[in-house]
Subunit: 220 residues, 2 copies
Amino acid sequence: MTIQLAVDIVIFSLLDTSLRVLLIKRGIPPFKGRMAIPGGFVHHNESLERAALRELKEETGVHDVFLEQLYSFGEPRRDPRGRVVSVAYYALIPGDRKLKAGSDAAVAGWFPVNKLPPLAFDHRRIVAYARERLRNKLEYTSVGFQLLPRKFSLPELQAVYETILDKDLDKRNFRKKMDLLGILKPLNEWRSTGRKPARLYTFVGKGFEQFKDKGILFPF
Amino acid sequence: MTIQLAVDIVIFSLLDTSLRVLLIKRGIPPFKGRMAIPGGFVHHNESLERAALRELKEETGVHDVFLEQLYSFGEPRRDPRGRVVSVAYYALIPGDRKLKAGSDAAVAGWFPVNKLPPLAFDHRRIVAYARERLRNKLEYTSVGFQLLPRKFSLPELQAVYETILDKDLDKRNFRKKMDLLGILKPLNEWRSTGRKPARLYTFVGKGFEQFKDKGILFPF
DNA sequence: ACAAAAGTGTTCGATATACACCCATGT
DNA sequence: ACATGGGTGTATATCGAACACTTTTGT
């Protein structure tokens, strides 16, 4: 008869230049056998963010990644078990991070966000909301760098933007913009994966908030 | 021992060209006698938004105003009574709306957001968060119009922007921008409050979402 | 007549956009 | 040698920022 509180996490990563979401397969009713985003109930002495971090770690083994509260979903009938309000978070994991394999037996894998299977509860809506937030934030913050390893090439960075914004960007304009922003430090390292080696950079923005003032960062 | 779920609402209005927040005086512990933003527990069969609307109506008598979910605050010790997670909303009320007087005995009044008294719980933080969100949204959405009556003059509209952004704007650039956006319909009415009468306009934007695509709307 | 607020255009600088060729490497 | 993807500059259009005077009304 009481309201229960859960957290659910949309975990994004970039694999094979496609934006993906980590899904698990539910082993118990309701929606047994359906795919779902990871989540669970909030413990009594745990903040919402800690609960989200706990779930994130349980499913992926990582703990030091971008995590942000998304929205709280509280329609009375969203969970057939009873009244469950879910505080949704989303996380960004660099594509090169090796996750602990089978960290949780329930992990089903990484699904392209454009081709999701049927999901349990209102999880489709939650993922859609997260995707929208990610797209928006990409344009005026530095979230894009959260999906890349510490060292990355400009073509890789551009691919992140193109994938999330779902449109092609002009190479020269992209580089000019990055140059103008002054948030990339060129390294004396080159990645020779493919043909001509690409120079590597690191992100040197001093954080997130700094960018807000500047207005839109990436209005391609 | 269970987690309780509440909604709290930051209700903004614009009075005497100052941005204000509706506060109530708490009649019972904890924080008895302290000021607080309106709020209350979510009923069992009520969505989060409905709970917020209910609180809004109880305190102000209005129900047809802008209301948006803000963030969920869930630190374990934010409420001394026990574990209470609060889903915060914010609402915008046109400055000319007459609220039902003494609608709730607890209503204390409209306080300038820059000069708030000590608040109960973590309400100061919630208000700060709402203020920040309002400032940001003002720049790329049409929230500004939610604080004005249906008919308004351009100087009034500009005052909304100046108040919330807390900086002076150039009259000519402001009008040029509004003109360019094409979201104002001039009326054949003038408001003669003061010296030279000001022409009245209405907002004719077809909604909110429409603007997102256009990117930033008001980067003064 | 004077004070107060409404209304009106132009110039300049910054930034977004469009666009094509050469270079370094692996095969 | 050639195919593949990395790397580079310029010209134009759009938009934001700065800036001063005239008009209308109430007193």
